[in-house]
C-alpha cells in the first residue's frame, strides 16, 4: 500500500512543527490514559507543575533531582559522542557511591574538607574504572559495549546488596539490612539550602562545553564519532582516545554517586542510583548530547519526577503516571524523527524502483 522514501524537501520550520506536534501527541496520549483512570488530565498536569514550582521547598527538591541527572548526562554524552553506547551509568554511579561511602563509614575521623575530597576523588576513580573495564574489552577484543556496560550495572548492584546485608550491615540496626548513617563531617555543605552538587553541576557543564568545542581532545572525540577511519587517517590514536574518554565518562558518573550519598542520602543503599543512570540516557539523547541543552532537559525531567511524586499524594494516583508521560514524550519525539527523515507515499508500480528502502 505505502512505501517509505527518504525526504529532503523538509524545511527547518516544517521539522520544528513536526516535533511540536509530537510533544502535543505525547501529552494527548497520556491525557487519555489519565482520563481512563478517572482523573482530569489538565488538573493533573497543572498540579504536577505546582508540585515543582508551588513552593520554595518543592523547587529545591526539583533541583536536587536535576543535579545527578545533569552530571550523569554529561558523562554519558562523552561516550555517546564517540558512538560508545554506555548504558552502564547506573553501575558507575553505584560504584562511585561505594568508594565514597567506604571513606565516609570507615575513615570518618578525617577532617571534613579532606574527607570530602577523598570521597570525591575515590568515587570518580572507581566510577571511571567501572566504565573502563568494558571499554578495554571493546578495544582489545571487540566486545559489544552495550551489553557489557548493562551487565556491569547488575554486578555493581548485587555487590552493594551483598555489602548492605553482609559485611557493611549496621551493627546497631538489630539485624535490619541497612548501612549506618554517615557522620556529619561526611556530609556535603549546603549553599542556598541545596548541597553544593548544584555548583559542581554548573561548573562541569561549562567545562564540558569548553572541552568538547574548544580543545584538541574534544575535537578528536567529535571526529571519532563521525568516522573512526577518518580519525585514524588523520593520525589519531583512536584506542587511546576512546579509553581515556570513557574513563572520563565513568568518572563523571562516579562523582554522582558521591554527591548522592554525601549530599542527599547520608547513607549508602543498593538503591542509591535509583534509575538515574537510565533516565540520564533519555535526557542525554533528547539534549542532542549538547552540554548546555542537557541542563534544560534534565531540569524538565526533574520537574516531571518531582511533579509525579506530588500528584501521588495530591490525587492518590501512582507516581508512575509521570514515568508514563516521560516514556510517551520519548516515544513520540523519536517517532517524529522518522517522519522528518522519511515520508510515506502511496504505492504506484512505476515508481517502485525509485523507492529507496523499506522498513
Amino acid at each position: 500500500m505505502f512505501r517509505i522514501i527518504k525526504r529532503t524537501d523538509l524545511t527547518k520550520k516544517q521539522s520544528v512543527i513536526f516535533r511540536i506536534i509530537a510533544i502535543f501527541g505525547a501529552l494527548v496520549a497520556t491525557s487519555i490514559f489519565i482520563m481512563l483512570i478517572g482523573f482530569n488530565p489538565i488538573d493533573v498536569y497543572v498540579s504536577m507543575l505546582d508540585g515543582s514550582f508551588g513552593s520554595t521547598y518543592r523547587f529545591k527538591e526539583a533541583i536536587i533531582q536535576a543535579i545527578p541527572l545533569i552530571i550523569t548526562s554529561l558523562g554519558i554524552s562523552v561516550a555517546f559522542r564517540m558512538k560508545f553506547w554506555n548504558i552502564g551509568a547506573e553501575g558507575q554511579i553505584i560504584m562511585g557511591a561505594f568508594a565514597a561511602s567506604y571513606f565516609a563509614l570507615y575513615h570518618s575521623n578525617i577532617p571534613t574538607g579532606l574527607l570530602l575530597l577523598l570521597m570525591f576523588v575515590s568515587a570518580a576513580i572507581t566510577g571511571g574504572i567501572w566504565a573502563l573495564i568494558p571499554a578495554y574489552f571493546k578495544a582489545k577484543f571487540g566486545t559489544n559495549e552495550t551489553l557489557f556496560t548493562l551487565m556491569m550495572n547488575y554486578i555493581a548492584q548485587k555487590f552493594l546488596m551483598y555489602l548492605q546485608y553482609g559485611p557493611w550491615k549496621d551493627p546497631n540496626a538489630l539485624g535490619a539490612g541497612k548501612i549506618a548513617l554517615f557522620s556529619d563531617n561526611a556530609s556535603l555543605p549546603k549553599v542556598f539550602g541545596i548541597h553544593i552538587g548544584w555548583i559542581a553541576a554548573i561548573v562541569l557543564v561549562i567545562l564540558m562545553h569548553i572541552f568538547i568545542n574548544k580543545t584538541k581532545r574534544g575535537y578528536e572525540i567529535q571526529v571519532i564519532g563521525e568516522s573512526e577511519n577518518t580519525a585514524r587517517y588523520a593520525g589519531m590514536n583512536v584506542k587511546k582516545i576512546i579509553l581515556s574518554s570513557i574513563l572520563l565518562s565513568g568518572a563523571l558518573c562516579g562523582m554522582v554517586g558521591m554527591f548522592q550519598v554525601s549530599g542527599v542520602n547520608h547513607t549508602l543503599s543498593y538503591q542509591v542510583a535509583n534509575g538515574v543512570g537510565f533516565t540520564a540516557i533519555i535526557t542525554t539523547w533528547l539534549a542532542g548530547l549538547s552540554a548546555p541543552v542537557i541542563v534544560v532537559a534534565c531540569f524538565l525531567f526533574a520537574v516531571l519526577q518531582q511533579g509525579g511524586t506530588y500528584i501521588q499524594t495530591a490525587f492518590n494516583i501512582h507516581s508512575s503516571v509521570a514515568q508514563i508521560l516521560q516514556g510517551m514524550i520519548l516515544f513520540f519525539v523519536l517517532g517524529s524523527e522518522f517522519f522528518i527523515q522519511y515520508k510515506l507515499v502511496r504505492n504506484r508500480s512505476t515508481e517502485h524502483k525509485i523507492g529507496k528502502e523499506a522498513a
Binding site: K12, R19, I20, W285, L286, G288, A314, E337
Partner: protein
C-alpha cells in the same frame, strides 16, 4: 537535527511551565481542594491544617496498598481513621512503595510541605530517618511503627503484641500438620520477625510438642516471587503447613499449589488462596490511629510509646476458614478467651532457646526491652540467625 529536537522539546516545556505559572495564583486553592477532596473524600473547603479542628495526617508505606498484607492493613487503618473522624475535618495523605532509604526523608518532607502535622511511618527500616526528621520538624508529630526509638517529645514508636495472634495461629498449625514439619517464610532477621517465629512456635508446641518449625529468610519485605520460591522450597522439604512474615500473600498461594495449608499474616487473605488459607494473625491499626489523632485534636496527646494487645483490639486472630476443624477452632477460642481474661500470658516463662537453655524463667515475663532486642529462637525452631 537532534539538537533542534531537544531545543524544541525544552521550549515547549518552558511554555508549559510559564502557562502554569500564570495559573499559579488560581492554582493555590485548586491545590488545596484537589488534595483534600480527592485524597480523602471529605469535602474540606480548601482549608489547611491550621483550622480549628482539622488535621492533615500523612502515612508512609513500604509496599503497595494492594498487597492484601502489611501495607493493606495499615491502609485499612487509615480509612477507618477517616470514616470514624469524618466530621472532624481529618485529611489523610498516603505515599506507597517508599523504600527504606533516604526516600523516607524525602517523602516525609513532601508530606510536611503539603501540610501534614502528624506522620505515621510504617516500616522498621524507616526508624533512623524518622528520628532525624523529628529533630528537623519539632512541630510535627511522628509515629514510627515497630521500632525501638523515640524522643519523648514528638517522636514515638508503636506496635502491638502480635505475639498473641502468632501464638493462636500456631495452635491451628500445630494441630493441622500431619508431617509435624511447619515451614515459615520470614523477611528480615530483626527482633520483630524473630519474635513472631518464636511465639508462633510456642503456640505450635503447646498443642503438638513433636512439631518443628523450619525457617527460610528472604531478606525482603515485599517480593512475591522470592517469597513464593522460599515457600515452595519449604513445601518440597516436607513441610505441610506454611506460615509467613511477609507483606504479600505469595506464601499462601504457593501452599495452595502444593495442596498444603497456609497461615497468613496482617489481614484476612482467604480470597488469595481459598484452598490453603486457614487463618492469620491480623492487625487492626485503625483503633490506634483514631485514638492518637483524637488525642491530638483534643490537645491531650502525650509522647508515649505504644504496645497494645488483643485486649485493645489492635491485634487479633483473623476468622478461621472451613478448612479448620471444629475441635481446633474450639481450642483456639479457648486460648483466646484465656488471653483476653488474663489467665494466659504468652510472654510468660518458662521459655527455652534452641539450645535448651532457659531464657525466660518460670514466673517471669519477657520485658519490652527483651522483646525489642530478641535475637534468639525458641526450642523447636529449625533456623539460623546471623550474628
Amino acid at each position: 537535527m537532534k539538537r533542534l529536537t531537544a531545543l524544541m522539546l525544552t521550549i515547549v516545556f518552558v511554555c508549559m511551565a510559564v502557562l502554569s505559572g500564570c495559573g499559579l495564583s488560581a492554582t493555590d486553592n485548586s491545590e488545596n481542594s484537589s488534595s483534600t477532596s480527592t485524597a480523602s473524600g471529605t469535602t474540606a473547603s480548601g482549608s489547611s491544617s491550621t483550622d480549628a479542628n482539622g488535621l492533615k495526617v500523612g502515612f508512609i508505606y513500604i509496599g503497595s496498598v494492594g498487597d492484601v498484607g502489611y501495607t493493606y492493613a495499615h491502609d485499612q487503618g487509615r480509612k477507618y481513621l477517616e470514616t470514624t473522624l469524618k466530621d472532624k475535618n481529618i485529611t489523610t495523605l498516603a505515599v506507597e512503595n517508599v523504600p527504606e532509604t533516604a526516600e523516607v526523608e524525602k517523602s516525609i518532607n513532601n508530606l510536611i510541605d503539603q501540610g501534614c502535622k502528624a506522620i505515621f511511618a510504617t516500616s522498621f527500616g524507616y526508624m533512623d530517618f524518622v528520628e532525624k526528621a523529628a529533630k528537623d520538624h519539632p512541630d510535627v508529630k511522628f509515629f514510627h511503627c515497630s521500632g525501638n526509638k523515640s524522643n519523648g517529645t514528638n517522636f514515638v514508636n508503636y506496635f502491638g503484641q502480635i505475639e498473641e495472634g502468632r501464638y493462636l495461629s500456631g495452635i491451628v498449625a500445630g494441630l493441622k500438620t500431619k508431617t509435624n514439619k511447619i515451614g515459615y517464610v520470614a523477611a528480615m532477621q530483626i527482633p520483630e520477625v524473630i519474635r513472631g517465629i518464636d511465639f508462633f512456635t510456642l503456640g505450635v508446641r503447646s498443642v503438638n510438642p513433636d512439631a518443628v518449625v523450619n525457617v527460610k529468610w528472604t531478606n525482603t519485605w515485599y517480593d512475591p516471587q522470592v517469597e513464593k520460591d522460599a515457600a515452595t522450597a519449604l513445601l518440597n522439604e516436607g513441610n505441610d503447613v506454611i506460615a509467613q512474615h511477609q507483606d504479600s500473600t505469595a506464601a499462601q498461594i504457593a501452599a495452595q499449589e502444593k495442596n498444603a495449608f497456609a497461615i497468613g499474616y496482617n489481614s484476612d487473605s482467604s480470597k488469595a488462596a481459598p484452598k490453603a488459607y486457614l487463618t492469620a494473625p491480623v492487625w487492626n491499626w485503625g483503633v490506634y490511629y483514631v485514638d492518637q489523632v483524637q488525642k491530638i485534636l483534643d490537645g491531650t496527646w502525650k509522647a508515649e510509646n505504644y504496645l497494645g494487645g488483643m485486649k485493645d483490639g489492635v491485634v487479633d486472630i483473623g476468622p478461621m476458614t472451613d478448612l479448620v476443624d471444629a475441635d481446633i477452632k474450639a481450642k483456639v477460642e479457648e486460648a483466646k478467651k484465656k488471653i483476653l481474661d488474663g489467665s494466659l500470658n504468652v510472654l510468660a516463662g518458662p521459655i527455652k532457646d534452641q539450645t535448651g537453655a532457659v531464657k525466660i524463667p518460670e514466673g517471669k515475663v519477657m520485658t519490652v526491652e527483651e522483646q525489642q532486642s530478641c535475637k534468639w529462637f525458641v526450642e523447636g525452631v529449625n533456623g539460623k540467625i546471623n550474628k
